[in-house]
């Protein structure tokens, strides 16, 4: 979209020849669209208008890495009590080694109750989230494809199980730019241990390097070297950066199509601008005590995730388009009660606080919150360590996720899983439809938001998908 068409290299020339007259017509059409579409095309991250009016302008993606159990959170299966510890065998090509062999059903260690005016289901450990239940749209029909963590993480984050493709946040910043040019458009708040699959989960893939996610460190200073070293004034720094940029630009003239080089130039400029803006934004200590308390900051169980949620709000408030917040360790193959119980407690208050805070600031209308793992969990478990373990295996056929804010149907449960929670059976959609729906809420059409790479126009959903209409208000 930001490619400069005045310079032609050999490859472009050949492409042009190859597609001949048709390309002439098409490129003039495209040029027209660019003219009306992108109002100001200065930098690659300049804000640009959505294709149609958007319901959401910002996204906070709460990523529960490891695969949270839908059965023990928002999709209770009381039938499992009846079958608890009933043994059975499962074989077949369709099932992974993990879900084959001797198995037994496991009931949920948590009771569940209806909360909010809308009467949606929530397991007991969710205490604070119940206060904002009526803001949430629970979706039970989504299906992942992969049973392995890294591939499933790549799938939900980039639309492709193999990785190496642009992440959701990259696609959105490619389509819309940032509202605040002093900050990156796509920020990631990972755990100390990066998720399985590593930084590939927020990679720009084949998109220009400007669109990669910027991770902020979870411990210590969120961005290293944000302040000039002692003894270097801002004036000196500016001078030396100016020299560096001049050299880089000279170099760039010889390589006009070198993506990484132009991204590097852009990054230096962004970094310089960030020095002004970032220290304020990432400093959550400046928030008043009541707000910190709202997110559970300062309390042992919730401090880590609470800080990240509060930071996410501050970033969105400053115009960052896409913030991904990770919570890790949801892979409960055993000790379900303790593991899931603690994790739920660690996110419960922070997420409730986030929703309340966005709501009172009038930001929830335009901010889409997504809560999801990379897949769901099974209703049964395999024999582990020669005995019964109260846990659950990976389950791509059923998962739990929810949305809040930005144009979704608040206080609704959409879709359903079967009576044991093994498989989605109503309003069933593959992950790519979630991606298409996300872009749709941002006023972007998955079929039109494409990037020419490897000989074809690539898109987030890989080959098209459907909008999940039922979740849209």
């Amino acid at each position: 979209m930001s490619t400069d068409h005045t310079n032609w290299n050999r490859r472009d020339f050949l492409y042009g020849l190859g597609s001949s007259i048709g390309a002439v017509a098409l490129s003039s059409l495209l040029a027209c669209e660019r003219k009306t579409g992108q109002l100001v095309s200065k930098g690659p991250l300049s804000p640009s208008a959505p294709m149609v009016r958007a319901r959401a302008k910002y996204c906070i993606f709460l990523t529960m890495e490891g695969g949270p159990s839908h059965i023990d959170t928002f999709d209770p299966k009381p039938q499992l009590d009846k079958y608890h510890l009933t043994k059975f065998q499962r074989q077949g090509e369709k099932f992974s080694a993990m879900s084959s062999g001797d198995r037994y059903f496991v009931r949920s260690p948590f009771s569940s109750r209806k909360v909010g005016k809308s009467g949606v289901d929530m397991s007991e450990p969710f205490v604070h989230l119940a206060d904002v239940a009526d803001e949430i749209c629970f979706y039970r029909g989504c299906q992942a494809e992969s049973v392995n963590h890294p591939t499933a993480m790549y799938h939900i984050n980039t639309g492709n199980r193999f990785g190496g493709e642009p992440a959701l946040g990259s696609w959105i910043s490619y389509g819309l730019g940032t509202m605040n040019e002093n900050l990156p458009a796509f920020v990631v708040l990972p755990e100390v241990a990066y998720p399985q699959g590593g930084p590939g989960n927020w990679s720009n893939g084949f998109l220009p390097a400007h669109y990669q996610g910027t991770p902020l460190r979870p411990e210590g200073s969120p961005i290293l070297n944000i302040n000039p070293p002692p003894g270097v004034s801002r004036y000196h720094q500016e001078e030396s950066l100016e020299l560096l940029q001049r050299l880089n630009r000279e170099h760039q003239k010889m390589h006009p199509y070198h993506d990484e080089l132009s991204a590097r130039i852009e990054n230096y400029e962004l970094a310089y601008r960030m020095q002004m803006e970032v220290p304020d934004v990432i400093d959550i200590e400046g928030e008043d005590e009541k707000t910190k308390e709202l997110y559970g900051v300062g309390q042992a169980e919730t401090d880590v995730f609470g800080r990240k949620c509060l930071l996410a709000r501050k970033l969105v408030e400053q115009g960052v388009r896409f913030v991904q917040v990770y919570s890790g360790g949801w892979d409960s193959h055993d000790f379900l009660e303790r593991a899931h119980g603690n994790l739920i407690t660690s996110i419960d208050k922070p997420i409730a606080g986030l929703i309340k805070d966005l709501k009172r600031r009038g930001m929830l209308d335009e901010t889409l919150i997504i809560w999801s793992g990379e897949f769901g969990r099974t209703a049964d478990n395999g024999v582990r360590e020669n005995g019964v373990a109260y846990g659950r295996d990976h389950n791509p056929d059923a998962m739990g996720m929810w949305f809040a804010g930005g144009g979704v149907k608040a206080g609704h449960i959409i879709g359903a899983t079967d009576e044991l929670g093994q498989e989605a059976i109503e309003i069933v959609h593959p992950l790519r439809d979630l991606h298409v729906t996300l872009l749709h809420l941002f006023g972007l059409d998955d079929n039109k938001l494409t990037y020419f790479h490897g000989g074809r126009h690539k898109q987030l959903s890989q080959f098209g998908g459907q909008v999940i209409k039922e979740v849209i208000a």
Binding site: L39, A49, R53, A54, G319, R360, R361, G362, G443
Partner: protein, 441 residues
């Protein structure tokens, strides 16, 4: 005579069908001349003429019975008689006409038939029967746009004109209109509602819930006085609830929803029926020149159209310390196109807002975390599309309540962290029960 009159709706369809059949036969005859066809045309035409006369006579009987009057009836009556006379003359004179005059005669006959048919339909089914269920694009072509579209908040809806009248139009006016006053009752305008019908006044102030109007509605469906009569489209429960609610408040004709007390059921019904029109779709303006947007950008103003095809513009000045009158002057270059301005944490002042208030199409205004104060809200009173106002973390207080209440298009208002008292908030909630106030704690 009344007895025969009742057969008018039955008989009238015969000449319509027969006349059209005769015309079709004539067309076939034109292409494939044959003696037999010519004979057939004559026979069917004769039959049409005969039944048209009967239909016309029965029609006159029916009109004598009463309940129908007005221009619609006049047109229907004379065009119907026209069909009878014309087709009879045509039948007797046809053999003497040359081939050209035959087609003229057909044209005349069918025109009268169409007019009689259409106005007959209007008498029975109501004036707008033809277009009532037509797709919107057809409706827009054929009906004039009068009255302002409903992009107002449910609270500002006129109870009689916008709620009761449309129900009556759907369910009552086909029998109770100015032309056809069944039971001498006309439910087409406020004055005739007040008058009532043969059985008396509709509203009984002594005993509201036993008023004639409700009495007839609540009679069992099989009862011959039940309204609407069995076989006709019935009122649905939400409509009955709205009528009941209206009578409970004394059947007022000049009140707005906010003037009447509404319970949660009424609020729910109103919200689902009176979803305000989306101003984003109502506002039509030309796009501004690209150079203006470039100028905005050069001056540190983030400006975007709301979509790639829309001329409407969103402005972001969040965090800009010094707004200054130069920036405001600049924004005026797109005053008609700007629908949203985000002044969050900027240096906006009450004085700037006076200028902003002259942007006629502003829908969304964010003033949170700024130094604006109580006088600010009064400036916004003329913004006819203003739906969202954010003033959280400002010094706005109870003093602004009256000014806020005057913003009757407002749908969401963010007041967290302001100087409002809880009594003030309650007062606002009471006055504007549908206003979204977000989270306040």
């Amino acid at each position: 005579m009344d007895f025969l009159g009742a057969f008018h709706p039955l008989v009238l369809h015969v000449p319509i069908g027969a006349l059209i059949a005769a015309f079709l036969l004539e067309m076939v005859h034109y292409f494939r001349k044959s003696q037999a066809l010519d004979q057939s045309v004559k026979i069917v035409l004769g039959f049409s003429a005969f039944t048209a006369i009967i239909a016309a006579i029965f029609g006159i009987f029916l009109s004598q019975k009463g309940g129908y009057q007005g221009l619609t009836l006049q047109i229907h009556q004379w065009s119907g008689i026209g069909v009878a006379v014309l087709s009879t003359m045509f039948f007797f004179l046809k053999s003497r006409l040359n081939s050209q005059s035959v087609w003229v005669a057909w044209g005349l006959n069918l025109t009268f038939l169409t007019i009689a048919g259409h106005f007959g339909g209007s008498l029975t089914h109501g004036e707008d029967f033809l277009l009532k269920d037509a797709p919107d694009f057809i409706k827009e072509t054929f009906t004039s746009q009068n009255g302002s579209p409903l992009f107002i908040h449910p609270d500002s809806v006129d109870v009689f004109l916008d709620i009761i009248q449309p129900i009556a139009r759907e369910k009552c006016n086909s029998c109770h209109n100015t032309n056809k006053k069944q039971g001498s009752l006309d439910l087409s305008e406020a004055s005739t509602w007040k008058k009532g019908g043969k059985s008396g006044e509709l509203f009984d102030p002594e005993n509201t819930m036993q008023s004639l109007l409700l009495h007839r509605i609540f009679l069992p469906l099989d009862h011959e006085e039940h309204m609407p009569p069995k076989g006709q489209e019935q009122l649905i429960p939400s409509e009955v609830a709205l009528i009941e609610w209206w009578l409970e408040h004394g059947m007022p004709f000049d009140k707005k929803v906010s003037d009447l007390q509404s319970n949660s059921r009424i609020v729910q019904i109103l919200n689902s029926n009176f979803r305000p029109l989306d101003p984003y779709q109502v506002i039509t303006v030309d796009p501004v020149d690209q150079s203006i947007l470039d100028e905005f950008r050069a001056n540190g103003i983030t400006a975007l159209t709301i979509s790639r095809k829309s001329p409407l513009i969103e402005i972001r000045l969040a965090g800009v310390d010094t707004i200054g009158s130069d920036k405001i002057e600049l924004l005026k270059k797109a005053r008609d196109q700007i629908v949203k301005i985000d002044f969050q944490a900027s240096g906006i002042t009450n004085d700037h807002l006076k200028e902003i208030a002259s942007f006629p199409n502003l829908i969304h205004l964010s003033l949170q975390q700024t130094n604006i104060s109580n006088g600010a809200i009064l400036n916004l009173k003329d913004l006819k599309y203003l739906q969202h106002l954010n003033v959280h973390s400002t010094s706005i207080s109870d003093e602004s309540i009256a000014d806020l209440m005057a913003l009757d298009k407002l749908r969401s208002l963010y007041l967290w962290n302001t100087n409002f008292s809880s009594e003030g908030i309650e007062k606002l909630k009471l006055a504007r029960p549908n206003l979204e106030l977000g989270e306040l704690n």
